[in-house]
Amino acid sequence: MTRSLSLRAGLLSLAILAGTIAIWHFATLPTAGSAGNVDPEYAALVSGAAAEGQKSTFPTPADVAATLWKHLKDPFYVRGANDQGVGIQLAYSLGRVLIGYLIAAAVAIPLGFLIGMSPLATRALDPFIQILKPISPLAWMPLALYTIKDSGISAIFVIFICSLWPMLINTAFGVASVRKEWLNVAATLEVGALRKAFMVILPAAAPTIMTGMRISIGIAWLVIVAAEMLVGGTGIGYFVWNEWNNLSIGNIITAILLIGLVGMILDVALARAARLVAYRE
């Protein structure tokens, strides 16, 4: 029964994909008659596509597939600062995300632990967290650029600040809501503070902490594209912006697909890690 369900679901997915590609294909078919209407000067000004008389510069699925294949065939080439393989751009972005994310985890998890343990700290820090949490991480960018004076580090800082809150809040919540009876067990066994933290509270709160980490990596991957569009230089976000300036829609669509793919891989990796610390009551 479940097998037939997943089979049917798979077939439906393929059908939706095929349908979407078909609509896309027919919507972007070249129209032969319009070729004569193109001003040759305009054709020279824009790219070859317009000159060839296409209805729009929007590429057909076949064009995008060709572009995608071109990128995947040689992802790591370097031909000058503004022409590097998409793999290298993704690696830059991933590197920034991971550095900012890991620093955020190193700060948020211990800090969240302390906040969760102390009702006083929870209430005292709550107003700050509530005000800082909804700020778009990009709003920090000018401040970061002004104080840090390095665009690469500023991007990492933006990742840090956006991944901080979900991990901080979830850790504090997870630690604060450890079941009273487990704490009572630790108390009646005269378990020391450090042993209690690592043997009881941490494993009990681990699933909630992992949920925070999963939310954070998702947000960090969303934010890096925007951050790199702003700071420029390298990274997949910069790549997208650069290709927009080149009006190379095929490259942009390729990059969008790859961003989605990497984001999914990050999420699946964190979901797997979460399963390791999950427990059934």
Binding site: E181, V185, A187, T188, L189, V191, P203, Y279, R280, E281
Partner: protein
């Protein structure tokens, strides 16, 4: 007269009331517990039974009074007083062995791994869980989980075992077999036990003395009933003993009617909270109806 292992003295618990004043849950509770004794506390919900147990465990502070263990006032939880909680309260990410070992290494931090393992195995065997050492609590039935809780408490070899309605969440069959096992283990090891229950049959089977509490608020110990059934009683034949119905009716009568109206009984005669009346239903005078409060009765030494 030897000093009791545990002495509850003038224990009281009060809560601030809405709009000023205080609600007294219970007050002036005095109770000595001898070494090797099995004491059951029976009372309706709201009389502060669990609070008394939590104070004994060191998890809660009384508003007044003290608990003296081995001549010293208790100030917090101790490995000498193991608690078997109402819910099993096992740590779900640890195996059966892990849960018991967590307790054992708390008691003996410097024991080598092999010794801890062997010690845990001994108590896992005692509660008949051999073969389930590496299962997680989620894979166990309710009765098995409670067995792990019992093994965990016994493994630290406490001076005293505190049980808060340990079998109330179990079905009748499982409860019965676990009661038999607890009785066997506690008689064999001469374990001192303080247990809370609202199950009369459970108290009659397990307890040497049954402490009856009046209804809250302002609950107090009404009576201490000494178990007049033979020491070697078992669940299978306990109801055939001559004293069985006298004892059962006395307890039932108390819970159904007298626990509500005990204030009237107190007003009628001399009631000393430090020395609540002790009754032995089925012996000497007929226990039905219960003797009036000012009648002479067997008073414990």
């Amino acid at each position: 007269m030897t000093k009791p292992l545990i002495s509850i003295e003038a224990l009281a618990r009060r809560y601030p009331k809405h709009g000023g004043g205080e609600t007294t849950v219970f007050e002036n509770v005095w109770l000595p517990i001898e070494k090797g004794e099995f004491v059951c506390l029976i009372g309706h919900s709201g009389c502060g039974k669990t609070t008394i147990l939590n104070v004994l465990a060191g998890l809660d502070q009384p508003s007044g009074g003290v608990v003296i263990v081995d001549g010293r006032e208790i100030s917090g939880p101790s490995l000498d007083r193991a608690v078997i909680f109402q819910g099993h309260s096992l740590l779900p990410w640890m195996t059966v062995m892990g849960n018991v070992a967590f307790a054992v290494t708390s008691r003996h931090p410097h024991w080598p791994k092999d010794k801890v393992r062997a010690h845990c195995q001994k108590y896992i065997d005692v509660v008949h869980l051999t073969g389930s050492e590496h299962k997680k609590p989620a894979e166990l039935s309710g009765g098995m989980k409670q067995r792990v809780g019992i093994a965990r408490a016994l493994a630290i070899e406490p001076k005293m075992l505190l049980m808060d309605e340990p079998f109330s969440a179990l079905d009748a069959l499982t409860r019965g077999s676990l009661q038999d096992e607890v009785r066997r283990i506690c008689t064999e090891t001469e374990q001192t036990v303080f247990m809370i229950t609202h199950d009369i049959d459970e108290a009659m089977l397990l307890a040497d003395r049954i402490v009856l509490m009046t209804n809250g608020p302002e609950a107090k110990i009404a009576e201490i009933v000494e178990n007049t059934l033979p020491k070697d009683r078992s669940r299978a034949d306990v109801h055939k003993h001559a004293n069985y119905y006298a004892l059962r009716n006395h307890l039932l009568d108390f819970l159904v009617t007298r626990s509500k109206n005990f204030a009237v009984e107190i007003a009628a005669g001399a009631y000393d909270p430090r020395r609540p009346p002790v009754v032995r239903p089925g012996e000497r005078a007929p226990a039905q109806p219960p003797p009036p409060i000012d009648a002479p009765r067997a008073v414990s030494a």
